[in-house]
């Protein structure tokens, strides 16, 4: 029997999820539009005072990114659960953790990466400096994958539960607080003239840590949910 190697399994799952998303583009766009709307509401609600806006910008962008990633978590496993493909995935002869990692990467590419790319444009609304924008992008690049990975655990645990969408937010949001603190903190420190390196390093450490543990934990959670 010719089994796929782990990397080709990873690529296969990513390709499959991206292909599915291409056929159902509306789902991807809702997350992005939600993010843009929430961030744009703040300048409208608070008023055009540049000093205030500059001060709140990192926090607003990060909270909006957090909420937008919650919005898309429900889709990570539930469609596969409902049509039975998840059962087949549990029977993969390689590694379920690797498969879950593939799904997480695909989820990030569809819900995290677009936020990272659009964030600088939104940052301009808040009169952020060029340097702050760069740090914002770097922090989002390091932080949003962590949100997807922590979210995967919550999504796997609440699979098939009634009202799982709300429950997953309650489960996952508290766990995302460190990402929010260091993500927003990185931009803040650079606007106050300090270096953002320490904050970004901590975000990077969180990313590495979740990369190692969350796929395995989510895989176990999926097995529990499928019983």
């Amino acid at each position: 029997m010719n089994r796929l190697s782990l990397t080709s399994l990873l690529l296969l799952v990513i390709r499959r999820d991206l292909l599915l998303a291409m056929r159902r583009r509306a789902d991807v766009l809702t997350t992005l539009v939600f993010f843009v709307m929430v961030v744009s509401l703040f300048p409208l609600g608070i008023g055009p005072e540049a000093d205030t806006l500059r001060k709140i910008a990192p926090g607003v962008v990060w909270v909006a990114a957090l909420l937008a990633s919650m919005l898309s978590l429900g889709r990570m496993f539930s469609a596969d659960y409902l049509d039975g493909t998840l059962e087949q995935m549990l029977l993969v002869p390689q590694s379920l953790s690797m498969l879950v990692l593939g799904k997480i990467v695909a989820h990030w590419m569809l819900s995290g990466l677009p936020l990272v790319l659009i964030a600088p444009v939104l940052g301009l609304q808040f009169d952020m400096s060029a340097q702050a924008l760069w740090v914002l992008i770097a922090a989002l690049l390091l932080g949003t994958p962590v949100l997807s990975m922590i979210g995967a655990i919550g999504a796997a645990l609440t699979l098939g539960l009634r009202g799982g969408g709300v429950l997953v937010s309650l489960l996952v949001l508290p766990l995302c607080i460190p990402v929010l603190i260091f993500g927003a903190g990185a931009v803040e420190s650079v606007t106050t003239g300090m270096s953002a390196v320490s904050h970004l390093s901590l975000l990077g450490a969180m990313l590495m840590f979740s990369l190692v543990f969350t796929p395995w934990v989510s895989a176990q959670a999926l097995r529990i949910s499928m019983e």
Binding site: L4, E87, V92
Partner: protein
């Protein structure tokens, strides 16, 4: 060889069966029988490792499947109540992706040939959502054709199939058994495979 010793399963607080033992050797066909709610699906899902049994062991080639984990999955193909098809993908894409996940890369030609054999000629590139229930079932069953797993676990494989497709299934099972494969299935319809005695396992 699949050996099941003293298996006990429950669903919620309700015990479905206990002390269930049987063995299945190469080339054998086993039909699980029982009324609705007697635990047929639970038994099959336990054999796949989705459900942990309350007690008892499942041995595959003499080894406990809980210790084998992924090596066991490479030898099993499971077809459940749900077809495990993605509505947005075509029959061909569905088949190739699910076969690759199950561990055997399938070329375009092999996949087309399998779908053709299942009577889906000309419908390979249609999205599965436009196919009928019976046609979807046929796409799901085409996985059996491209897999080389020795153990087939089929839960109600004949739902929504017409007479022709049922005949085809009998043929496929016959071929698989002739290649020293093993099949466990549940069905409420008659399924007779030529030259092979169907063993019965009754759950009460």
């Amino acid at each position: 060889m699949l050996e099941v010793c003293n298996l006990a399963c429950s669903r919620g607080d309700h015990q479905l069966f206990d002390g269930l033992s049987f063995t299945l050797s190469a080339g054998e066909l086993l039909q699980v029988q029982g009324a609705n709610g007697s635990g047929k699906t639970t038994l099959l899902r336990t054999l796949c490792g989705f459900v942990q049994p309350l007690a008892g062991n499942i041995l595959w080639q003499g080894q406990d499947v809980r210790e084998m984990d992924e090596d066991y999955y490479a030898d099993v193909i499971y077809l459940g109540h749900l077809n495990a098809l993605k509505d947005e993908l075509s029959a061909l894409e569905n088949l190739r992706i699910s076969a690759a996940l199950a561990g055997c890369a399938v070329t375009q030609q092999q996949a087309i040939a399998a779908l053709k054999r299942m009577g889906l000629r000309g419908r390979e590139t249609l999205a599965v959502k436009v196919l009928s229930q019976g046609q979807r079932r046929r796409v799901a069953l085409a996985r059996l054709l491209v897999s080389n797993a020795p153990l087939w676990i089929l839960d109600e494989p004949l739902t929504a199939l017409d007479v022709g497709a049922v005949g085809l299934m009998q043929e496929l099972i016959g071929e698989h058994l002739a290649k020293q494969g093993m099949v466990i299935f549940t069905t409420h319809q008659a399924l007779a495979v030529a030259d092979v005695a169907t063993r019965q396992l009754a759950l009460s």
